[in-house]
Amino acid sequence: MTVATEQPKLDLREPPSWRRTKNRIATALMVLAMVLVVIPLGLVLYTVIARGASVISWSFLTSSIPVQVAPANVGGIGPAIVGTIEIVGLATLLAVPLGVLGAIYLNEYGGKNALARVIGFMADVMTGVPSIVMGLFIFSIWVLHFGFSGFAGALALGCLMLPIVIRSSDEMLKLVPDSLREASYALGATRARVTLTVVLPAAVGGIVSGALLAVARAAGETAPLLFTILTVTTVNRNLFSGANTALPSQIFANATSPYVGAQARAWGAALTLVVIAFILMLVARFVTGRFTRQGR
C-alpha cells in the first residue's frame, strides 16, 4: 500500500461540456438578435441619408411644393415644414401643460386613491390607442362641424401626446424627495405653492425631456393628420381655418407616386423628418443628463 505518489495537477477550469456549449449558443443567439435589429436600422438610415441628401438644399427646404410630375430638382417642401412646426407646436402647447397638470394630480393630490389609480392606469392604456383612431375621433367631433384645419390636426396630435406626457411627468414627480415637500409645508406654504415653486422646479429637467420625446413622436405621426388637416401643397398660416399640410403627410402622398421626382422629394422630406426627430431625442438626452448630474 502506497500513498498517492503524485498529486494530480488541479485544473480549476470547468471541463468543456454540453452545458457550457449550450450557454455559448444562447449568448451567440442574443448577439444575433442585436445584429438582426442593427442591420435593418442601418439599411433604413443609410437609404434615407443617401437618397435624401442628394435632394436636400436650402431651396429644397424653403420652396413651395410642386406638382408630383415635376423633376427632383424643382421645388421643395417649404409649406410642409411650416405646417409641421405650426401644428406640432400648437399640439405641444395643448398637451404639455395639461399633461403636467394631470401628472400633478396623480402624484401630488391623488396619491394612492382609487380615482388617481384609475386615471394612471387609463393613461397607460391610452398610450396604446392607435393613432388612426385619434384621427377618426377628431374627424367626428371637430372636422365634421368646423371643417379641416391645422387646429384639428393639433388636437389629434395633442390627444396622442397627452398620456405620454402624463406618464413621463408622473415618473419624474415621483423622484422628487418627500423631504422637500415636508420642509415647504413646515414653512406654512399651501400645496399649490409647494407644487409650483418647489416640486416642479426640482423635476423640470425630466419633465422637459419627457415632453421632447412626446414631441418627437408626434412630429412623425401621419395617421392622425390624414383626415384632420387634409394635405394640401400651399402654406396656410391660419391654423384655425382651411386645410393645411405637414411633412409626414407629404411623404405619405409622395410615397405611392409613380414619378421619380415626387419620390425623390419624399426621401428629402423623410431625411428632414428623421433629423428633426433625432435632434429632439438628442436634446432630450442632454437635458436628462444635465438633470441627473444636478440631482446628485
Binding site: M34, V37, G128, V129, L136, L162, I251
Partner: protein, 324 residues
C-alpha cells in the same frame, strides 16, 4: 416608488383647516380636471366614433359586418378580410419581434457590462424615433421590390408541398401580409425590448447570485432565476407589442398591398383595418365612410381590451416583484 404611504406624509397646515386660499383650491380643481381629461377623451372616442359608424352597423347587421365581401361599388361592407389581415400581420410581427426583443433585453441585463449597454440602448431608441411613414417609404420603395424576388423563388420552390405550399406558395407580391409583418416587427421591437428589460431588471440580485453560486451557467441561471420571475411581465410586454402592431397604420398602409382578401398565402397582397381606413377614408361617404369609421371602432375596442389586459399583467407582476 417611495416607501412612505400617503397617510404618513406631511400635509400643509392650510389643508387641515377649512380656510384654504382660493388659489390653492383652484389649482387642485385644475389638476383634477386635467387628470379626468384622460377618461373624458377615452369615453368621447368611444361615443363619437360609434355614433358616426351607426349607419354601418344598422344597414349591415351583425352578419353583414362580419362577412367577407368588401365592395364599396356594390354597397357591400364586410369587415372580416380586414380583421383577418390585422390579426395575421400582427401575428407575423410578434413571432419575429418577440424572440429578438427578449434576446436583446437579456443581452442588455445579463451579458454586457453597463458601459456597453448604453450604446445598445441608444440604437434601440433610434429605432423607436424612425417615424412610421419613413418605415413605409423604405418598405415600399426599397424593401418590397428587393424581397419580391425572394418570395417568388420560395413560392415556386414550395408549390405543391402540402402545408408550405398553402402558406408560402404563389401568388407572391413584394407588397404583402408578410412584408407588412416584417416592417411591423421592426417597429414594435423597441417597445417590447424596453418593457422586457424593465421586467427582467426587477429580478432580485440574490436569486441570480444564488443560481451562480450553485454552479449554474448563465443560461441555466436565466432559466432558473430570471425566467420564473419575469415570465408574467414579458407576456404583458408581448401583448402591448401586439396592440401596437394591430394599430400601426401608415407603414402597413404602404406595404400591405391593399387587397381585401382572406387567404392562407402570406406572400399575397392583403389589407388590414388601419391600412384600409388610411387609404380609403378620403374618398368615402355615406355608408362607406360609416363602415370605415366602424372599422376604427372595432380596432379601438380590440386594442383597448389588449392594452387593459397587458397593463394589468405588467402592473400585477411589478407589484409582486416589490414584495408583499
Amino acid at each position: 416608488m417611495s416607501t412612505i404611504t400617503r397617510e404618513d406624509q406631511a400635509v400643509p397646515a392650510s389643508a387641515l383647516s377649512e380656510r384654504r386660499p382660493l388659489g390653492d383650491r383652484g389649482f387642485q380643481v385644475l389638476a383634477l380636471a386635467a387628470g379626468l381629461l384622460v377618461l373624458v377623451i377615452l369615453v368621447l372616442i368611444a361615443i363619437s366614433t360609434t355614433q358616426q359608424a351607426s349607419s354601418w352597423f344598422s344597414t349591415e347587421g351583425v352578419t353583414g359586418v362580419f362577412s367577407t365581401t368588401w365592395n364599396p361599388a356594390a354597397g357591400k361592407f364586410g369587415a372580416l378580410a380586414f380583421i383577418y389581415g390585422t390579426l395575421i400581420t400582427a401575428a407575423i410581427a410578434i413571432v419575429m419581434a418577440v424572440p429578438v426583443s427578449v434576446g436583446i433585453a437579456l443581452l442588455l441585463t445579463e451579458v454586457v457590462p453597463p458601459r456597453w449597454a448604453r450604446p445598445i440602448v441608444y440604437v434601440i431608441d433610434l429605432l423607436a424615433v424612425v417615424p412610421s411613414v419613413v418605415w413605409g417609404l423604405w418598405g415600399i420603395l426599397v424593401f418590397a421590390p428587393w424581397i419580391a424576388g425572394i418570395y417568388s423563388s420560395i413560392g415556386s420552390a414550395v408549390t405543391g408541398v402540402p402545408v408550405l405550399g398553402a402558406l408560402f406558395g404563389p401568388p407572391t407580391s413584394g407588397a404583402s401580409f408578410f412584408t407588412a409583418g416584417i416592417i411591423l416587427a421592426f417597429m414594435i421591437t423597441p417597445i417590447v425590448t424596453s418593457l422586457s428589460r424593465e421586467v427582467i431588471a426587477t429580478v432580485p440580485a440574490i436569486e441570480r447570485e444564488g443560481a451562480y453560486a450553485l454552479g449554474a451557467t448563465r443560461l441555466e441561471m436565466i432559466r432558473g432565476a430570471v425566467w420564473p420571475h419575469s415570465q408574467g411581465g414579458i407576456v404583458g410586454a408581448v401583448l402591448l407589442g401586439l396592440g401596437r402592431a394591430m394599430g400601426e397604420t401608415i407603414a402597413a398602409a404602404l406595404v400591405i398591398g391593399s387587397s381585401a382578401t382572406i387567404t392562407s398565402h402570406l406572400f399575397a397582397p392583403g389589407d388590414s383595418m388601419p391600412a384600409v381606413i388610411a387609404n380609403e377614408f378620403g374618398e368615402a361617404s355615406g355608408v362607406f365612410r360609416a363602415g370605415l369609421m366602424g372599422l376604427g371602432v372595432l380596432l379601438f375596442i380590440m386594442t383597448i381590451i389588449i392594452n387593459i389586459i397587458a397593463r394589468g399583467i405588467v402592473q400585477r407582476s411589478a407589484r409582486r416583484q416589490r414584495g408583499a
